[in-house]
Subunit: 593 residues, 2 copies
């Protein structure tokens, strides 16, 4: 039996009935089972009580099995204030109502009031303590607000049903159940577990940021490792180097697999890249591993939206699988469209590994990648672009912050409105058309009972009109799935993407603050004037990276919104035309002759 | 000053703030002003308190100025039980939830448990105590249920505004203000004053029935007076004799008039019959007088719907006038379409009096008409139709009762549903489309702020799409006035018409019961065997009258519902086509190129 001591890093309060164990910061506990999965470990406290604790809340007292590159840099950065967002504080803003507020209120005043200091060592150890990441807890960068999109098929999975889905669907359990609460005007359902899961998310490891602040890159003396990422001047300003061939892939053919003599079951998907057209097999866990790697490697420069699955569940297996697949497809396509992400070694590995051995070796290599976190900026090379001064850098950063915040508000507004509309279209409105239809048919039945001759034309027409309104009721109820669904999905995707910006932009803001301190540090003799020049130059590089990323975001946004609006309106037109056609037919059956 | 003593017939409780005076049955009061109008008199009680009392609640202690024909029949009918509906009991059923229940539960058992006896003299005296009827209190025959049709323009006129409208709009005051209460699922507004006014209606005079039970006709020895009303055998069974030319009229050109040096103002309408094409002028009071005459004369045989104005009021003068005129038009057209009503002397007088003198003389003559109440049946002549036996008579009566009750339910159901739909179409639904429109436009504004070049096509299209949804919101809100309005108006008219049937059919039911008693009366020597044969023959005549009336009702119903459904569906088609067209245009502005 595995029996290791561990230190509790954060307070954790057990949820009743979940076999959890409450622990306090500083407490020493004994790990009794490490193979629980889903980000949980079984542990025993000093009073002999046994229960589950989140693995991210504790630090196991043993040697690190792997060496992570992030803190290998031999640089003494202790003279810097600890300005960087810590996982806890970042997650707080992500889970609060306004993750953007931090940047607004401190636009010129620095972050020290908002970001709490935290030692780095603990984080690093944890990150590498498992070969597999504790999947499924989501990314604190991504705004994990309540998903208020009321799919008629979605249900609250809290309580008993949780168990049923746990093993089967990889990692669902770790999201901590689904809380139902009132949200917004119309009392929308709060899905995705804003309470239970968000706490676990909140204190999850945060590899992209936890290893260091931007100072690690700003003053790095190491030569850049890894593929160079060029930024060019395009028509719209700085842009990433786009490949000639636009990669895409298809996620298809979900199959149920099982292991441990059928005790554990899971879904395997085929992922077929358009380059090779050769399918590779992946479980959800693998997607989550990829997400973690991308976040770790690119998260400081590129918003990596979290896997959308926390929001997906369904009453029926097929619905659940279909929706998860649809969203994995959307996530993969977005990643494929990103020139930096799609050309990265880890992404290519995921899409086109040759065999199990190839995959395993590639995985290990990716996990050992040292050019992660802010160090990704060391690989970025602005080609033929002049250095920007700090004012420009700051202006651009502010501009992007304002825009992404405004768009985040706009998208959420549209989601709220769309959600209301969805509810009306699937609830009261069809009921009303149905009642109109019934009232006509009812009146027709009464008329038939009159015994009066020669009113068959009227009664037939009235019955037909009634049935037409019942058909319209049906159409109204089914319509959202045909149009509003895609509008909502696209906006949900953008909500997730936009939720990454406060943190991504936060890295830039923090770097700008560091550069602003440079003069003082030079005066105090802590860095050399040459260091200061390097810092400024690197801030300029970061800015080009951000600008390229924003331009990438904009061009995708324009394409996506044009496409989804076309799709939405096209279906809306068809819908209203079909209603008109049905009513025209009903109209033709009446006669005043 | 006028100062006459009067006896209080029924308890009346003053409504606070309305200058009313509470009085108790049996109390003697002094009339201090008889010229209040609207069914009210000013009176002083023994304690010297002065206030308004409803003229129908009191009996003035003075000689009748006119002799009414109704009770001039020298027949001793005291051996009959008092089976006839009295005004009070009739009104109770009319104002209850189910005015039809009486006939259902007593289908074969007679009515004596339900109809309370009441002396006739008091009623007769009151009927003729005023040259002008106390207009505007409505007809207790008509079901005066809450009007739940929520015109967006309708308001609660209770309280202060009442005074404002009182004089101006003839008789509005007499309806006792408008009570607002919850009705139906959606909490519709109860208009038309179910409380205050219904009590006043309840105890109003009821000329058609109060003068006598059907025995007056069944055993009448008097020769028939007045124009003969023939019933023929048509394709569908017994039918009225229809004129070659279908009379109609136009109610138009409302003008404000005033009298008493401008202290009282009123609206005058032009009524233009299609026969003469020569307009005559009438105030609302005159319509009401006509209604009272028609009710008195034909009410036992023909459902005379009450004037619809109790339900009409509006925030703006023009709206109010327009709506009242529209409904007066509907009422007049329905009367014109009725072969018996439209050919009657009183109706012809109303439509085509030559001058003031002609009108006044005609009025007086009409008020002296003796062939009123059940005596109208004495003028009906079934042409070449065999006498029906009582079983057939009873079966027909039951059949019509069942049908009209079922249709009453169906119509009310449709009104409830239509009302709900009206509320949704004018309330939450357009608000939602507006919010969708705003959300699109809002997102467009955000996009414009991006500073990214080349997205003008998207932002213009998104703004246009947003505006389109705002236009749709407007269309949705205005649509009910274009289609649902007429469907509601027609069904409201039918609700009123159907509400007359319990009383009209009640007369027939009562006659059937009388005929059933005939054997006992012959045995007891109270009537002769020849009287019994006469009674049976006359019941047969009444049945033919009812059948002719039902066939008239059916043919009108078929025409009306065909027409209104055509109109409704035609407008609905246009509505959905226009939405589709607008959206098609909006769709065309997006591009994925």
């Amino acid at each position: 039996m595995f029996s290791t001591q561990a230190q509790v890093l954060y307070d954790f309060t057990a949820e009743p009935g979940n076999n959890e164990l409450s622990v306090r910061e500083g407490e020493t506990i004994t790990i009794t089972n490490r193979n629980i999965g889903g980000g949980w470990l079984e542990a025993k406290n000093s009073r002999g009580e046994v229960g589950l604790v989140p693995e991210d809340y504790i630090e196991i007292n043993q040697a690190k099995p792997f060496t992570s590159g992030g803190n290998a840099a031999p640089l003494d950065l202790s003279f810097f204030d600890s300005h960087m967002p810590t996982p806890a504080s970042t997650a707080q803003t992500s889970n609060g109502n306004d993750p953007w507020a931090v940047f607004d209120s401190n636009a010129s005043g620095g972050f020290s009031n908002n970001w709490a200091a935290q030692p780095e060592g603990t984080e690093t150890g944890k990150t590498s303590s498992n070969a597999w990441p504790s999947g499924g807890q989501g990314h604190p960068q991504a705004y994990q607000g309540p998903d208020i999109y009321p799919y008629p098929c979605l249900i609250d999975l809290s309580g008993a049903e949780d168990d049923e889905w746990d093993e089967e669907w990889d990692d669902v359990k770790s999201s901590g159940g689904y809380a139902e609460s009132e949200a917004g005007e119309g009392g929308a359902i709060n899905r995705g577990g804003a309470h239970g899961s968000s706490m676990k998310i909140a204190l999850n490891k945060f590899p992209g940021f936890s290893k260091s602040g931007p100072e690690l890159y700003l003053l790095s003396k190491l030569p850049a490792k890894g593929t160079k990422l060029s930024v060019y001047t395009g028509e719209v300003g700085p842009v990433w180097a786009y490949p000639d061939y636009q990669l895409d892939c298809v996620v298809a053919d979900p199959k149920k697999g099982s292991k441990m003599y059928g005790l554990k079951s899971y879904i395997e998907y085929q992922v077929i890249p358009t380059t090779t057209n050769k399918p590779v097999i992946h479980r959800y866990k693998h997607f989550d591993w990829l997400y973690e790697r991308l976040l770790e490697k690119f998260g400081s420069a590129i918003p990596i939206p979290s896997l959308p699955d926390k929001q997906v569940t369904g009453r029926f297996e097929e619905e659940f699988i279909k929706m998860r697949m649809e969203r994995l497809q959307g996530w993969m396509s977005r990643m494929c469209r990103h020139p930096v992400v799609s050309s990265s070694e880890v992404f290519q590995l995921f899409l086109s590994y040759k065999d199990e051995k190839d995959w395993k070796m590639g995985k290990r290599k990716a996990e050992k990648d040292e050019t992660v976190g802010v160090m990704v900026f060391s690989t970025i090379e602005p080609e033929g672009l002049p250095d920007l001064d700090l004012t420009e850098v700051e202006q651009k950063c502010e501009q992007f912050n304002r825009f992404t915040k405004a768009m985040d508000d706009g998208v959420k507004d549209l989601l709220t409105v769309g959600n209301e509309h969805w509810k009306r279209c699937t609830g009261p409105l069809p009921k009303e058309y149905q009642r109109i239809g019934k009232a006509f048919q009812n009146l027709s039945s009464v008329f038939i009972s009159s015994g009066y001759e020669g009113e068959a034309v009227l009664t037939d027409a009235l019955t037909a009109a009634g049935k037409t309104y019942e058909e319209i009721a049906q159409m109204v109820a089914e319509q959202p799935k045909k149009d509003l669904h895609f509008l909502m999905e696209t906006n949900n995707e953008y909500k997730g993407l936009l939720g990454c910006f406060p943190d991504t932009i936060g890295v830039h803001k923090a770097a700008i603050e560091k550069v602003k301190e440079a003069d003082k540090l030079v005066a105090a003799g802590k860095i050399t004037p040459s260091d200061k020049i390097t810092m400024s130059k690197r801030a300029s590089t970061m800015s080009y990276s951000l600008q390229a990323e924003m331009n990438h975001f904009h061009s995708n946004r324009i394409y996506d919104y044009n496409r989804v609006m076309q799709q939405y309106l096209e279906q809306q037109v068809k819908f209203y035309e079909m209603i008109a056609e049905k009513l025209r037919h009903a109209h033709g059956q009446f006669t005043t002759m």
